[in-house]
């Protein structure tokens, strides 16, 4: 009676097939062709050598470490902010989501600057910091779904320890579901691991291998083959996550009684300290550090020995750069200096960009984007950031295909040396009194934001438009698919289907999107922002679908049955009866796709049209741009990412629901 509309479902499934499975099929088919041509065993032996498998096991270990750490801190955090009288629980809960929203690259940039630790340990710590909110959110939700009377029955028996002992098995599936998702995020991450690797001791993760395989010889089949074990690894975590999520998601009956906060007594301040520390490490420190850098803080207040490795192209770890001279000492370089430096570096970036993109597109067997297409903005002063495809000139995998003695690399190195000499030449003897420096800091801050806004307005708008369009397209599809998953007999199969695109490494998805749309027939899509929107929809459709499936399952089925008895069609029931009951989840689903789209870099890094997105601009600016510009730009991105949540908290009374 409450089944979803079949025509609508067919249309949504067709969209899923095209946007979600199309890119994957485009890279899997050459893989299968190659495998059959060469003979499966020969092909597999050629692709999977001991090094590849070793890398896979290391990546799995990295994912397990990150997920384990995320559970270690995320589960207590979720419990404390959701169920106890810890001071400021509401704020801590909201602020605790921020590390998940921040682009991993931003976390990597700020923390590698503050902490000398590098390598896989640093990567695991940062990934744990980025993913602990997932575990915390799942934990919090699970604790909140325990009926007050069940908890009170345990409290009567043995107080708080008995209550926790009773509740642990009830919340464990949710905690593990969060851990599985954290694992999937960690093993598929490319940008964070690549960044940490590029500023310190070189190490590889499997996603990097996929990236390298895609561009070294342009063999999509090989890239797909290389990616296959990672897809398997992700599915190994995603399938249990789907089951655990259902087990952990109790249906809340009509007489459900929300439990009251548990009293921690004197322990509440210790609990507050723990939660505040996590929020500080994951959200406040990165944001504060960005603000500090945006105002030229290290030049104004630092000792001059700040580690700039993370910010300097080709710098390697722990490079010490003295503060700049003259007006630049106060963080205000002359406009001419900016332009000179910018132009020099922009030229390098543009040359590298053009060469690399042309090479990639040729390798992928497509047509090069038309002139004037948004495949690389003009070099811009200030960030020097003409978007380039693989601009990183250090030991990053993203520049692995550049020859060290190529003109691009030589020019980039020269630009670096010039910039550093420029900075070292005029170390000031006296930076003036504190008040003057603070005033200068304020001026610098305003100036940085003004420059970032002026130079990256287009990229910001592009990202917002792409993200908003992707979210607006994804949510109706997710509503139809999610409702069907909740109500139809084969709902679990449908949930499994939608997560498969998520299991594929983002890099592979990006390669697939190029292979799918880069044809004469679809050239208009390929050359426009449409490909970016479709890429985001296909990549992220799983999240809103699972969130809306869960939300639809909690809606009393009799509401739809009574409407059906009144003669209402299935589609009308979906939009008139179900949708109004789901609006906090619908807004949450929209926000989720919007945020994920804006912070997406791994898949977009290969797609020419996505070179005009703001995170790509950040990625370029990190290597070719000034610290204050990069920081201001990152802060603008953070602001855009947080904006939907801020608006919601200002104007809505209900909590936004966005968890899968």
């Amino acid at each position: 009676m409450s089944r979803s509309s079949t025509p609508l479902l067919c249309a949504a499934l067709a969209a899923l097939a095209l946007f979600g499975f199309g890119p994957l099929a485009s890279v899997v088919s050459p893989f299968l062709r190659d495998a059959f041509t060469a003979g499966p065993s020969m092909f597999l032996m050629d692709v999977y050598d001991a090094r590849t498998l070793g890398l896979l096991s290391k990546t799995a270990l990295l994912g397990l470490s990150a997920a384990g750490l995320a559970v270690l801190v995320g589960a207590p955090f979720g419990f404390l902010v959701a169920r106890t009288d810890v001071p400021g629980a509401g704020f801590l809960r909201a602020a605790g989501i921020v590390p998940l929203i921040l682009p991993p690259l931003v976390l990597a940039m700020t923390w590698t600057m503050l902490v000398p630790l590098r390598g896989p340990v640093m990567t695991a710590l940062l990934l744990a910091l980025a993913t602990f909110p997932l575990v915390a959110l799942f934990t919090a939700r699970a604790f909140e779904q325990i009926d007050a009377r069940r908890e009170e029955a345990a409290l009567l028996v043995g107080g708080l320890p008995a209550a926790l002992r009773m509740e642990l098995p009830l919340v464990l599936p949710s905690v593990l579901a969060g851990a599985c998702l954290a694992f999937v995020f960690a093993v598929n991450d490319f940008s964070l691991a690549d960044y940490v690797s590029s500023v310190g001791k070189k190490f590889g993760v499997y996603a990097t291998e996929v990236f390298t395989a895609s561009k070294v010889d342009g063999n999509q089949g090989r890239a797909a083959a290389i990616a296959a074990p990672l897809v398997g690894l992700s599915l190994l975590a995603l399938i249990p996550a789907l089951t655990l999520r259902r087990r952990g998601s109790a249906v809340v009956a009509g007489d459900f009684q929300r439990p009251a906060p548990l009293r921690l007594g004197r322990g509440r301040w210790a609990a507050f300290g723990f939660c505040a520390l996590l929020v500080t490490l994951g959200a406040l420190v990165p944001i504060a550090r960005l603000a500090f850098e945006a105002g030229g803080g290290s030049r104004l207040f630092g000792s001059g020995s700040i580690r700039r490795a993370a910010w300097t192209q080709g710098g390697g770890a722990a490079q010490v750069v003295p503060p700049p001279a003259g007006p630049a000492a106060l963080g205000a370089p002359t406009e001419q200096a900016i332009v000179d430096s910018a132009e020099r570096r922009a030229a390098v970036a543009a040359a590298a960009s053009a060469a690399a993109r042309a090479a990639t597109v040729r390798q992928l067997g497509g047509v090069a984007p038309a002139a004037g297409a948004p495949t690389g903005a003009a070099p811009a002063a200030g960030d020097s950031g003409a978007p380039t495809t693989f601009p990183k000139p250090s030991n990053s995998a993203a520049v692995g295909s550049f020859k060290r003695d190529s003109p691009e690399a030589v020019a980039a190195a020269a630009a670096t040396a010039a910039a550093e000499a420029e900075a070292a030449a005029g170390k000031p003897k006296d930076r003036g009194p504190l008040g003057q420096r603070l005033a200068q800091f304020g001026r610098n801050l305003r100036g940085s934001f003004a420059r970032a806004l002026e130079l990256s307005r287009g990229s910001l708008i592009s990202s917002i438009v792409f993200g908003a369009l992707a979210a607006t397209l994804a949510v109706p599809l997710a509503l139809i698919l999610g409702h069907a998953a909740a109500r139809r007999r084969r709902g679990r199969l449908m949930e499994l289907l939608v997560v498969i695109p998520l299991a594929a490494p983002a890099i592979l998805f990006g390669i697939g999107a190029i292979a799918l749309w880069n044809h004469d027939l679809t050239a208009r899509i390929y050359e426009s922002g449409a490909i970016v929107v479709l890429l985001y929809v296909g990549r992220f459709l799983a999240f809103p679908t699972l969130a809306l499936s869960r939300a639809a399952a909690s809606v009393d089925e009799r509401l739809e049955e009574s409407a059906a008895l009144a003669g209402t069609s299935a589609s009308r029931r979906l939009f008139s009866i179900v949708t109004p009951a789901l609006w906090p989840s619908l807004v949450g689903a929209w926000t989720m796709v919007f945020v994920l789209s804006i912070r997406e870099l791994d898949a977009a890094i290969l797609v020419p049209a996505a070179n005009d997105t703001v995170l790509f601009r950040v990625f370029n600016a990190v290597h070719f741009g000034r610290d204050d510009f990069v920081s201001a730009l990152c802060l603008l991105v953070v602001f855009v990412l947080l904006l939907p949540g801020l608006l919601w908290s200002l104007f809505a009374r209900k909590r936004m629901e966005f968890l899968p």
Binding site: D147, R149, R150, E152, A153, A154, L155, L156, V157, G158, G159, P161, A162, R165, M166, P169, L170, A250, D255, A260
Partner: protein, 252 residues
């Protein structure tokens, strides 16, 4: 409001708060208890006294605060005004729970039983006994006794979700009794049951109360059926508790 009930309860609490606990003290005394949560008043000025071994029915309209009063007596919520004493010992005062719920010797059968969904009947009772410090060896026998007592023999491995309404209520009762309470609070225990099962559970409650010497405060909104097992019937209305019938008055 019945002034006799109120004055007796007030004097008992007053004695309890000075530490003169002892025989002759009511099992439960509540004086002018009000409870507000989040600015919403759930209970206003309830005063009552229960004597050891009594079975008292508490009736009242929906929203009058019956369940809140039980939760306050169990120590699950602190009164915003008034005091509660158990066997002469001050248990709660405004804003403070002086005796934690687990140390009150109070059992509570929740409305709808509120069973732990992931545990079997044996697991549920074993969990309670373990928290009460019963040795592992003794727990098995004790679980058997409790299941027998509540007419649930053979249900050891059944989970909450597989039990009928009556079975769930009986398991809820066994869970409340496992902690060997002196005061048993029953929140609408007959609610989900059909007529024959109601009569059966009432008989079981009466037998247990007499056998274990329990003091029972039994919340219901249909006193007619339960009246036959009760010593007194109190009614809770906005502003306090009144006694409808005083069939077996106890001396102070």
């Amino acid at each position: 409001m019945d002034m006799q009930v109120e004055s007796r309860a007030a004097s008992a609490v007053s004695a309890g708060s000075t530490g003169s606990a002892g025989s002759g003290a009511p099992a439960v005394q509540a004086v002018d208890v009000s409870v507000s949560v989040g600015g919403r008043t759930l209970l206003t000025g309830a005063t009552l006294a229960l004597w050891p071994g009594e079975h008292v029915l508490l009736v009242g309209a929906s929203g009058s605060g019956k369940t809140t009063l039980l939760r306050a007596i169990a120590g699950l919520v602190a009164p915003t005004r008034g005091r509660i004493a158990l066997f002469g010992r001050a248990a709660s005062e405004p804003g403070r729970v002086l005796i934690p719920p687990a140390e009150r010797s109070v059992g509570l059968l929740f409305q709808g039983a509120a069973l732990w969904p992931h545990m079997s009947a044996r697991g549920t009772l074993d969990f309670v006994l373990a928290r009460r410090g019963v040795a592992r060896a003794a727990r098995k026998a004790r679980v058997g006794e409790l299941l027998e007592l509540c007419d649930l023999a053979g249900f050891e491995e059944r989970r909450a979700a597989t039990l009928s309404g009556g079975e769930a209520q009986r398991l809820g009762l066994a869970r409340a009794l496992a902690a060997e309470p002196e005061v048993l609070l029953l929140d609408e225990p007959l609610g989900p049951l059909d007529a024959p099962r109601r009569a059966g559970l009432l008989d079981r409650l009466q037998t247990l109360q007499r056998r274990l010497g329990l003091t029972v405060l039994h919340v219901t909104h249909d006193p007619d059926e339960a009246r036959r097992v009760a010593d007194r019937v109190l009614t809770l209305e906005a502003g306090g508790v009144t006694e409808l019938a005083q069939e077996a008055p106890r001396p102070c």
